[in-house]
């Protein structure tokens, strides 16, 4: 059996069951107040098993594309359900699952108001994200791209904090605006292919071979770039991010920072660079400029935030600048660095949001000036917080360092001044991360601090797993780099892919 459709459908189905279990009548019948949570957990465990199968089924003769699934959908328009998995998508799906599991362990069990719907939306977002990572039909990709917005919008708008509705609307509008430009690009590419070949298809592999004039390929690439730049985010279109991350409930913040931003990076690798290599190369100087701007601007703003979540959110913008820099550095090393950075940022920032959410839940504020001296009261939580803050400032030996170092090295070959500027961002990131550590965990405690529940052992175990991943990623990134390399869409591999599918 092919595991790919199951990977997408399972979370939706599990979410539906969780929703039903959360209905008040059902909950009364089940006599478990957290039935939706349990069902969501079971779904994720099942999903992990399916993914494990998919990972281990990797055929002996190493092929870049590991699994393939295809089924006609709208044959008259050449649209099909095509799912393909390569190392990059596999790595990112693993990241999504790990973060989702951590979310369930740390943040969602206490969601009492409409817990069933909450878990359904969480899993639906996950399904949409996994779908975008797998889809190799451009229509299907766009379908999932849009589909994951809706549950996230509802999650922010209903379960978020004080200014949630404005933030949710902003998030949706920005992403959708970029998405529509991408739609036009997708259609433009399909039509160019139709004119050249007379075949109407949305197949990624077929479209990759479309002959394009330089101007057209540049235009089409920019359309894709617009959508991914909003998601990543790249600096002029990052405005939605701090609001959305700050206002979202903890679990949604984790998904946003940990996974949704990665869909932007994934799209840039899979579509911008792979489909339009020449245009991407010509666009690279500008993209790298935007990347450096993001690194410096995000870090600079992060230094002057008082809101914990906002600080982390601006830090994310800065880190994603490295991803952009790496992707467009036009070297394999930069690409590997960008991927490692995506994985490490997903883990460390996701975990930081979990910690920040737990703090907020206990202290009822996100204002760093009013929180202080948590180390004494909650040593476990604080140590976790310190670990992830240090990880995100790029401490050698942890994943983020490996990613940033590779990106900087690759950038240095292309343009030393850019690399120098980007390393200034590292200094700034040390400032904001240490400021976070100092004022929350280490500073003398401000007001009277009620004794508060620390993280229980189970939650520490979940965080411990994330820490272990970060350490491995930092100390020995080579297997991850070879494992998660994106595969090329070009005919030689496509032929092999078809052979494997049969």
């Amino acid at each position: 059996m092919n595991p790919l459709p199951a990977l997408v459908l399972l979370p939706i189905a599990g979410g539906g069951v969780a929703w039903l279990a959360g209905r008040s009548r059902m909950a009364a019948a089940l006599r478990v107040h957290d039935a939706p949570w349990r069902i969501a957990l079971m779904t994720l465990v099942l999903e992990t098993l399916v993914l494990l199968v998919a990972t281990l089924r990797h055929p002996a003769h190493a092929e870049p594309w590991m699994a393939h699934f295809s089924m006609p959908w709208v044959p008259t328009m050449g649209i099909a359900v095509r799912l393909d998995m390569d190392g990059l998508s596999l790595a990112l799906i693993w990241l999504s699952l790990i973060l989702c599991l951590a979310c369930l362990f740390l943040a969602t069990r206490q969601v009492m108001a409409n817990g069933g719907v909450f878990h359904f939306l969480l899993l639906a977002t996950l399904a949409g994200v996994i779908g975008t990572f797998l889809a190799t039909d451009l229509f299907l990709f766009f379908f999932f791209w849009e589909l994951m917005l809706v549950p996230m919008f509802v999650l922010i708008a209903v379960w978020g904090h004080e200014d949630r509705q404005r933030a949710a609307l902003k998030f949706f509008l920005f992403t959708q605006g970029g998405g529509l430009l991408m739609l036009l690009s997708i259609l433009g590419l399909v039509m160019m292919h139709y004119r050249a070949d007379g075949v109407l298809t949305f197949d990624y592999f077929a479209l990759a071979a479309t002959p394009l004039s330089p101007t057209v390929s540049m235009l089409l690439m920019l359309g894709f770039f617009a959508a991914f730049a909003v998601k990543l985010p790249v600096v002029p279109v990052h405005v939605w991010l701090p609001d959305a991350h700050t206002q979202a409930p903890t679990a949604a913040s984790v998904l946003l920072a940990g996974i949704l931003l990665k869909t932007g990076g994934y799209g840039m690798i899979r579509f911008n660079v792979m489909l339009f290599p020449d245009a991407a190369a010509r666009f690279a100087p500008l993209a790298m400029g935007l990347g450096v701007a993001g690194i410096l601007y995000g870090a600079w703003l992060s230094c002057s935030q008082d809101d914990v979540k906002r600080l982390i959110a601006y830090g994310s913008i800065s880190h994603m600048g490295f991803v952009l820099l790496g992707i467009f550095s036009s070297s394999p090393m930069g690409m590997e660095g960008a991927i490692v950075q995506m994985l490490a940022h997903g883990l460390s920032t996701g975990a930081l949001f979990l910690v920040a959410g737990s703090i907020e839940e206990r202290m009822h504020t996100r204002d760093m000036r009013r929180i202080g001296g948590l180390w004494a009261a909650m040593p476990r939580l604080s140590s976790a917080g310190v670990f992830f803050a240090v990880a995100s400032l790029g401490m050698p030996g942890l994943g983020n360092f490996a990613g940033e170092f590779l990106v900087l090295l690759a950038t240095w070959h292309v343009s030393p001044p850019v690399a120098v500027l980007a390393s200034v961002g590292l200094v700034l990131s040390a400032i904001y991360a240490l400021r976070l550590v100092n004022s929350i965990f280490l500073a003398p405690q401000g007001g009277s601090l009620q004794p508060m529940a620390d993280f229980p052992a189970r939650q520490m175990m979940a965080l411990g797993c994330i820490m272990a991943f970060l350490v491995v990623l930092g100390l020995y990134p080579q297997p991850f780099m070879t494992f998660s390399a994106p595969s090329s869409p070009f005919p030689t591999t496509a032929a092999g892919r078809e052979g494997h599918a049969s």
Partner: protein
Amino acid sequence: MTLHDTFLPSPLLVLSAGIMLMLAGMAWRRSVVRGLSIGLVTELVALGMVTHHTGTVPDGSMGLFIQDHWTAFTAMLVLFSSACILLMSWRDLTDDGARPAEEYPLLLLLGTLGATAMVFSASYVPFFLGLEIVGISLMGLVAFNHRHFMRGCEAAMKYLILSGLSSAVLLFGMGLAYALTGSLRFAPPIPADGMPPAMAMVATVMILVGMFFKLSVVPFHMWLPDVMEGAPLPVAAFIAVVSKIAIFSTFVRYFGTGSLPPALNGMLYAVIILTILGGNLLALRQSSLTRLMACSSIAHVGYLLIAFLSPGPLQPGVITVYLVAYTVSTLGVFAVMCACSPSLSPNGAAITQWGGLFFTRPFMATAMSLMLLSLAGIPPGIGFFAKFGVAATGVARQRDLLLGALVTGSIMGLYYYLNIIRVMMKAPATPATKTAWRMEPELTTLVIVLTMIVVIGGLFPARIIHPFLPG
């Protein structure tokens, strides 16, 4: 002409028979439920007979009526929508037992007859007759607002005057066309020898303007929000769906799907851009849901015209899907509005009154959100595929300006649709007061059916794509 020579599509016969039956019933004894039932049965029977006809098919293009895939498809849409609208009105009419208002289903059936006649017409005569039947019955229906009699009357007067004006322009254009060609055949006039070519242009433009009035395309859109706001909710749905589909169907029949005269092309370009931007900008500022739906329907006609203006292999299927998506989603929104309106103030007008619907009536709120998302073009609604198709036809013909308008309009549209969803998600200030909901089986069923069409059509659109356009 003997009976043998007449060619009549069956739905027209069925509808006329239903109207006669209803009139006879009224003369005997008045009963709203009977009137509504007759209306519903008539429409369902007509729906089943859209591909049937009596008499022989005329050879050539001489007949009054025509019957092909396109008529079958649009007539089905018209009859289906009309049946839905009857169901939506059921509760309000039967509630008012003191004054049995059988005229309402009668007028509704009459309006449906007019719309169906337009759909089947292959000549100016049945087209104009149908148009006027729709116009006159709508005037009565719009004024049928029991709760706000004055407002209904005002809206009806507005509709009467503007509809009369546009009919006059249309009629003048037809007259010119007849003078030029000496034929009532339903096609843009091609001047005979010795006739000034400018006259053909004038005739076409006048007919176009008349149709644009009825389609409420910017700059002829002013009447639509006012009339829809004054009308009872189901009638507003009738204006937004049935009459627009009938007009659009004849519009496509008239101008064909080939290329328009180049001068008209430029005009249509401008009109489409104005319509999309104008409709969406107007909708941004509305505080009443009915008016907002009116403005959004203006914008949707603009999107539809993009597909009309971009002939290509994709076009027929895309127009089909778009019409289905627009019809079903709009009907769905109005059905939910009808279901929730008793608890809201008159006509469920102000958007702010929808606050907290997710907490008081979660099912209705979910259905409403799905419909709105479908209108906004977000998956999993069928509207997503429809908008995707429109963009595809536009890209295929490189309509860059129109695509720009489409993107801008869609983003604006997303804002006001999401805004409604946002309002519905607002936690109610007071803890949810359990209002006694009356069981409304017909409305609930209707909403369920429409929601299923929207979602299933959105997930498996392949079944709906059929090239139905007239050749």
